[in-house]
Amino acid sequence: MNPDDFKSNDQIAWCPGCGDFGILNAVKKALAVLEKSPKDILLVSGIGQAAKLPHYIKANCFNGLHGRALPVAAAAKIVNPDLTVIVTTGDGDCYGEGGNHFIHNIRRNADITVIVHNNQIYGLTKGQASPTTDSGYATKVQPEGVILEPIHPLEMAIAAGCGFVARGFSADSENLAGLIVEAVKYRGFSLIDVLQPCVTFNKKNTYSWYKERIYKITDETGYDPQDKIAAYRKAAEWGQRIPVGIIYRAVQPSYGEKKGLDGQPALVEADIEHIDIGGALKDFI
């Protein structure tokens, strides 16, 4: 298959030069590599610029509420495991509005992939600070600069027990596509935090700012993504050098495995027209 097999007819509504385009291309490339048929893919999103992405791909799409993509995605996967479920979300959607779902869906560990378009700013609401905006950055709402410390999603994910934690860069869609392929293949909750310039509202974390700092973990010899302590250190690296690639990886049972659903017919296939509750009613006699 090739990326064009996943082209949708919908008109793209992003700003020219938006980092989202790189992510869109990477998702299409990855799906082509994975040889998934559009009908077997479900893209789930909330609200924000990232959340529009599913419309621009030929695949099933559920574009729900702000912050609430994860519960929709997890449940869809649980009842219909034939679907490859991918969430496209943003730093505000996933780490702000949906923070509670982020923590608990890592624990739930349904077999879904979460791609966070992390541009460190709010785009759709026009330039307010996001949970990942660097401290000190001035916005219309925070004219003196942000005084809240940014959250650290990768460290949080490792701490919460996520078994696949990666970081990508939207301008390197080849590498990002590779990460998406690995994340989708991983059985369980996989997270890719994607650094992505916002050409309109983020004047600090620009393409050139990132390019000066980003390096591939795989270019360093000796890094073992299965070493949790090393992964914490790597996840915390920020400032002069910013790593991209698979930061942490651990094999652990997914929701479906623990719940005994794997290998069973999907719940959506269940014959519900001939359910006999007579046996249960006997318990009440």
Partner: protein, 572 residues
């Protein structure tokens, strides 16, 4: 001999009042009596004062009485606290030695529970079983029934446990038979087979959901809705249902919507506070046209309110919850049977119209047990409104929101159809992509609101009615007040009373209401809330102004005596 008896079992949280009550309930039911039982409990796990009340009768019973004929006090505090509630000629059963009481009030029946438990079972944990024996003895139930219930209650335990409990029960039974020297609580011989079901409103909702093919149930625990989840979880393996405890109610409704979008029937439940958190999700279900069933089991609010008590104050909230305008159905079952059948209907209707269907219950219906005839399992047939898998192949140009005459678009399951499905919370075109087009907006509002509401109004549950032609006073209620209103109307005096009871609140049966109530005098709503929300709804939807409302908002359910007192006042 008597035909009816009210028994109250009182003590601290954790002393097992409900266990005693339910064992006795089974004993009376299996002996062929009718019963209605309810617990009055505090929001705590230990201590405080809770009680379980059973009304046993040779006639069908649908509500509680104000005053018990018999009280079992399991702790000293219960004696002083509940003695004033006792009926004239009532008996308060207590262990005077344990409570260090020396006085001998009229109406006391001293039972050395502690000694009997130690001597029979060898441990004071058998006090509750002794108590069951005492009540069975006083009412002169055949001991065989108690023996059978004990056997079934402890069927998973060792033979020895059954044996010890049976001995303890017999000790209590024999003590009562030899020491309770009169027959004023001896029940007249029973007339039923005993083969009836004994369950509460939440059990009925859970069983209805299982029967209706709910495959995914998710909720965050909140009293008094939690036992729906408990019951479904208990049967989850047997019926192949995934029960997932959500991190919060927002997650719960969004998970229910996700599962439904992916093709499984799904449900969630909460009480008012948790339901408030679900409201944005409810609107999402409306906009994305995703079926979902939500039970809201009410308790007194605002905010945390009375977590374990009852109220019907969320009527206005449920019929209007959610931003924007979309179609919905709100059922308000009045009985355990209606809870079972309407839950099944809720799943069918949610799927047929691709809408949220709400079930408005409350703590009184949720926690009240009644004996009911075995359910008719063929009464509500499962109706499917999705594109079957075998018809999903080779579907091209699928439009999730295709404009149709009926307002409902064909719904396909992702991965079953060869095409892809776009669903959106933004305003969307027929394909499901985001649009800002004014005409498309009008088309979509017509589709998901006007057309659906019109068609839904063609299949409204009719209100139950009684004695309207003849009545000097008409009581109007909804939901859990059905039983008490019905019994009130069947009493002779103080006035000839009829009733109208709504089990569906939205779409409101306006036309039928007008037909039933126009021109009638003396109409009073009976509501467990402070504002008279039903009265206002009737006025708003049918133009009929009732004469007044009988309201109770102290967190306690109506009982027959309380309502009779109120009716007397209104009639006078």
């Amino acid at each position: 001999m008597i035909d009816e008896l009210t028994i109250r079992i009182s003590g601290q949280a954790g002393q097992g009042m409900q266990t005693i009550g339910l064992v006795l309930g089974q004993v009376f039911k299996q002996s062929g009596y009718h019963l209605f039982a309810n617990q009055d409990y505090m929001s705590r796990v230990r201590g405080g004062n809770n009680f379980f009340q059973l009304r046993v009768s040779n006639n069908p019973v649908f509500s509680l009485r104000e005053k018990p004929d018999m009280i079992i006090a399991l702790d000293k505090e219960s004696v002083a606290l509940h003695k004033p509630a006792l009926n004239e000629n009532g008996t308060l059963i207590l262990d005077k030695k344990q409570f260090e009481l020396t006085r001998d009030d009229a109406g006391f029946f001293n039972v050395p529970f502690y000694e009997l438990a130690i001597n029979s079972g060898g441990n004071d944990i058998f006090i509750n079983t002794v108590a069951c024996g005492v009540i069975s003895g006083i009412t002169q139930i055949d001991f065989m029934h108690l023996e059978r219930v004990i056997k079934s209650a402890f069927q998973d335990k060792k033979e020895e446990v059954i044996f010890q409990n049976t001995l303890a029960a017999k000790a209590g039974y024999d003590f009562a038979r030899s020491n309770f020297k009169n027959e004023r609580f001896t029940l007249s011989p029973s007339v039923n087979s005993g083969n009836r079901l004994l369950l509460n409103g939440n059990d009925a909702i859970a069983l209805g959901a299982l029967k209706a093919g709910c495959k995914f149930y998710t909720a965050y625990p909140m009293s008094p809705s939690t036992t729906i989840m408990d019951t479904i979880a208990h049967y989850s393996k047997a019926f192949n249902v995934v029960v997932e405890q959500a991190e919060d109610e927002i997650a719960a409704i969004n998970m229910a919507i996700g599962a439904s979008f992916a093709g499984a029937r799904s449900m969630t439940a909460s009480s008012g506070g948790g339901f408030a958190l679900m409201v944005e999700g409810l609107s999402l279900a409306g906009m994305t046209e995703t079926p979902v069933v939500v039970a809201c089991v009410g308790r007194p609010a605002p905010a945390t309110g009375f977590p374990t008590r009852t109220e019907q104050a969320d009527l206005d909230f449920l019929i209007s919850a959610g931003h924007g305008e979309f179609a919905r159905v709100v059922y308000a079952p009045g009985t355990i049977e209606e809870a079972f059948y309407l839950t099944q209907k809720a799943f069918n209707l949610a799927e047929k119209y691709q809408i949220p269907v709400l079930i408005m219950s409350d703590q009184h219906l949720a926690d009240s047990y009644r004996d009911v005839a075995p359910f008719d399992l063929d009464k509500v047939k499962i109706q499917r409104f999705i594109l079957p898998k075998e018809d999903s192949k080779n579907v091209n140009n699928y439009k999730r929101y295709q404009l149709t005459k009926f307002g409902v678009s064909p719904r396909a399951v992702p991965s079953w159809i060869d095409d892809v499905i776009y669903a959106d919370s933004d305003e969307h075109n027929e394909e499901g992509h985001i649009t800002e087009d004014a005409q498309m907006r009008i088309n979509m509002v017509e589709k998901r609101f006007f057309k659906k509401m019109f068609n839904l109004s063609q299949e409204i549950e009719s209100p139950s009615i009684y004695n309207l032609a003849d009545a000097d006073l008409i009581l109007v209620g909804f939901g859990s007040t059905y039983g008490v209103i019905k019994e009130m109307c069947e009493l002779s005096g103080p006035v000839k009373t009829g009733f109208v009871h709504f089990s569906q609140l939205w779409p409101f049966p306006a036309l039928q209401t007008t037909q039933l109530l126009a021109g009638k005098k003396n109409i009073f709503t009976v509501e467990n809330n402070a504002a008279g929300q039903l009265a206002r709804l009737i006025w708003r939807e049918s133009g009929i102004k009732v004469n007044g409302s009988i309201l109770r908002f102290d967190g306690r359910p109506f009982n027959l005596d309380y309502l009779r007192g109120q009716v007397k006042e209104k009639a006078g």
